[in-house]
């Protein structure tokens, strides 16, 4: 017996179910669709009515803690100017400040940005030209760090529309974050100079899982690209060439990836799932001979007894060279919002924070990655924080990433294939040159397709 299954009842139930199902589907998809459609909507926060107040927005990051907790207050005390600081997650802040700048809402004066936002923010008029605002740049700021704020870039490939423009400063570096080599002094008496030196040492000493020879971020996208870039640059390859063609699938790029793959037998078998936390935890437990990572690990973790079993045992140096040194750079950088209600105040604050006095204090009190040469080599600071000279040297030897708003897409393409190369190399345990060539060729093809699709922007 099928109770309630008469024709009219069945039709009614079906139509109700169908209607409800489609309605719920529509409602479920609505928020994401709305988010896409409202990219030009208004940002959060309220506009300042006071011309004295400076409003700074940022993403959350441990490296920003001293800036937020100390220097914002210190500026208020020294100048009497009120500074309002707010922060949110990285993704949320990127959307919020972009929306604020596109609409000139005026909710913020200063945006703390990741340096790969500069092309989009400068080209899109989201941040203002600091040269035109009369910002006086401290001449002691390391030039490679400062260059991250110029648009169009001083070196490398340029978008077609900006080919002949004179570079102008659109953002000012506040933290010189750069790749460093971290090595355990119990296994290396001096910093290894080349990638081959590291390989030789790990072959001799590593015995996983008690002691890994190397640790790396392997997750697809940005993390594994950050692992690969210091190798690629040092082997003489380029992420993109000056004509935008992918520069990683040539012999240099293949050799660089092959070298990374040869480290795999001495690395954790789960490297393809490693991000920074897993990568650095091996070093903090004393289970890893060396790795490359940004400066935050040195500043906040390595010598912190509550996090680290290797206090005082890890040293830092510039990432190894093969034909040259090639650390990747990823600065924290500040732009002044297109709708800033207090541009004068914002300019003064940035000049103050990047001044010699404050930068030296920034380095001395906490060992932060200051942006001036003097601060990073200040004897008093260096005595306490041994990584500072390595930061100064690495910034000047660094290679920037491609300066285009499509850089995250290029990273995703390359990062997906690098991740797959790691997975296959772990399974295959050999034939690394072929694996490297295969996956880099796939990435090259996909990147060329993106360039072709957007050829009106690039060529």
């Amino acid at each position: 017996m099928t109770s309630g299954s008469g024709p009219s009842m069945k039709w009614s139930r079906r139509s109700v179910l169908k209607g409800a199902g489609l309605g719920v589907a529509a409602a479920a998809a609505a928020p994401l669709l709305a988010a896409c459609g409202s990219s030009g909507g208004s940002g959060g926060g309220s506009a300042s009515g006071s011309s004295k107040k400076v409003i700074i927005g940022s993403f959350q990051d441990p490296a920003m803690a001293p800036f937020r907790d100390k220097y914002v207050k210190q500026y208020q005390q020294e100048t009497g100017v009120q500074v309002q600081y707010s922060e949110t997650s990285y993704d949320a802040w990127y959307q919020a400040c972009k929306s604020d700048g596109l609409n000139k809402t005026g909710a913020y004066d200063i945006y703390v940005m990741d340096d790969n936002w500069v092309p989009e923010f400068a080209a899109g008029g989201i941040v203002q030209n600091l040269d035109k605002l009369g910002l006086k740049v401290n001449p002691d700021i390391l030039s490679k760090g400062l260059d991250q704020g110029y648009w169009p870039p001083k070196e490398g490939a340029r978008l077609k529309a900006f080919k002949n423009d004179t570079p102008a400063l659109y953002s000012l570096v506040i933290i010189d974050d750069v790749n460093l080599l971290y090595y355990d002094t119990r296994h290396f008496s001096s910093p290894p100079e080349t990638w081959d030196d590291i390989y030789t040492a790990m072959k001799k000493k590593a015995h996983p899982p008690q002691l890994y020879g190397w640790s790396a971020r392997g997750v697809k996208g940005n993390p594994v690209v950050q692992t690969y870039l210091p190798l690629l640059n040092s082997y003489g390859g380029n992420f993109v060439n000056d004509d935008w063609s992918p520069g990683f699938a040539g012999p240099e790029g293949v050799a660089a990836l092959e070298r990374l793959l040869t480290f795999l037998p001495y690395m954790a078998a789960s490297t393809p799932e490693f991000d920074t936390d897993q990568e650095t935890s091996l070093m903090l437990q004393g289970k890893c001979m060396a790795l490359t990572e940004y400066t935050g690990t040195a500043v906040t973790e390595i010598d912190n007894p509550s996090d680290s079993k290797v206090v005082g045992k890890i040293n830092m140096a510039t990432t190894p060279k093969q034909v040259k040194n090639g650390p990747a750079i990823g600065t924290f950088i500040c732009g002044i919002a297109s709708g800033s209600p207090n541009t004068d105040g914002a300019v003064k604050f940035l000049e103050w924070f990047t001044s010699d006095r404050i930068q030296t204090q920034f380095a001395r009190e906490g060992g932060s990655a200051a942006v001036t040469k003097t601060a990073l080599n200040d004897p008093q600071a260096v005595q306490k924080y041994r990584w500072l000279p390595a930061i100064a040297q690495s910034v000047q030897l660094s290679t920037p990433k491609p300066r285009t708003p499509d850089e995250p897409k290029f990273e995703d393409i390359l990062g997906t294939q690098l991740n797959l190369a790691l997975v296959q190399a772990l399974q295959q345990k050999g034939g690394y040159d072929q694996i490297a060539q295969k996956y880099l060729n796939v990435a090259k093809g996909q990147m060329q397709a993106v360039l072709e699709q957007n050829k009106n922007i690039y060529f």
Binding site: M1, T2, S3, G4, S5, K10, R13, R14, L17, K18, A20, G21, L22, V24, A25, A26, A27, A28, A29, A30, P31, L32, L33, A34, A35, C36, G37, S38, S39, G40, Y94, Q95, L102, E120, G124, G125, I126, V219, K220, G221, A268, A269, S270, T271, P272, E273, Q278, S281, P405, D406, P408, K409, D412, T416, Q417, N419, L420, L422, V423, I457
Partner: protein, 312 residues
Amino acid sequence: MAVTTAPVRPSEPGRRPDAGRRAGLDRALPWLLLLPAAITLGLVSVYPIYAGVHASLTTYLYGRPVAGAGLKNYTDTWHDPVFWQAMEVTLKFVLIAVTVETVLGLGLALLVANVVRGARWIRMSILAPMTVAPVVVGVIWRLIYESETGFVNPMFTSLGLGAPNVLSHEGSAFFGLVLVDVWEWTPLLFLICLAGLQSIPQEPLEAAAVDGAGPVRLFFNHTLPLLLPVLAVGVVLRLIDAVGTFDQIFVLTRGGPGTATQLISIYAYNTAFNFTDYGHGAAMLIALLAFAFLLVLVALSLMRRAAKRVAQ
């Protein structure tokens, strides 16, 4: 000239003079009462869809809408191999996860339906995973799967099976995510099936039992057909929800290794918000919406056919 006049109807006994106006008001009242809900629905559901469709027909440059795109974003999506790869992963994920959840949810409901002692506690413990926020579920399972500190690797190693490193391989990562979804959402189907089982009239079941039907025949010939309408609602809800799965995958794998766990939701998010290609991202989400509609229609049609076959 003869003048004809319409016959005047005698006034109905007891009818008041303003009865016509009252009748009009009575007719309008339901619509008026629906108005606030309709406006709210329009604002929170229809407008976002409109905004999404509009975005999908727009070209953006450096975050600004610069021109109409016509159907370019849709043709780009159609010719994007990564989109189709993501579609395939999404379809596989949804079908496997929802099938397992339905079978397990129904099985658990049948087991628990007749439990008398401790039934409340059993139900509560089964329902617990559903109450955890998806992003927290992602974090919990990341800690479980974590190769260095999680307990999956040591468990397998102690059994002599070797560390599986779940999230490091394409196949195991995919099924690892299916397992997370099953863990979280089987309780929903359990709850729906349990409610359905408790509302089934007992007389036909008792009559069939008296006629000698065994438990298996009783289930397939009587319980399941009576339960199908309720089950259909549960399956449809889960299908729609599973198509848009995002949080757990974002926390656990971000779509990797490679593209093994890259569902459309993850790819569209990256396209729109990481690659700032809003138009293309919106076109993908419209395609996802159409895909969800299609899945719902197919699921309903299949269940209706099954109900018919069982009824015969």
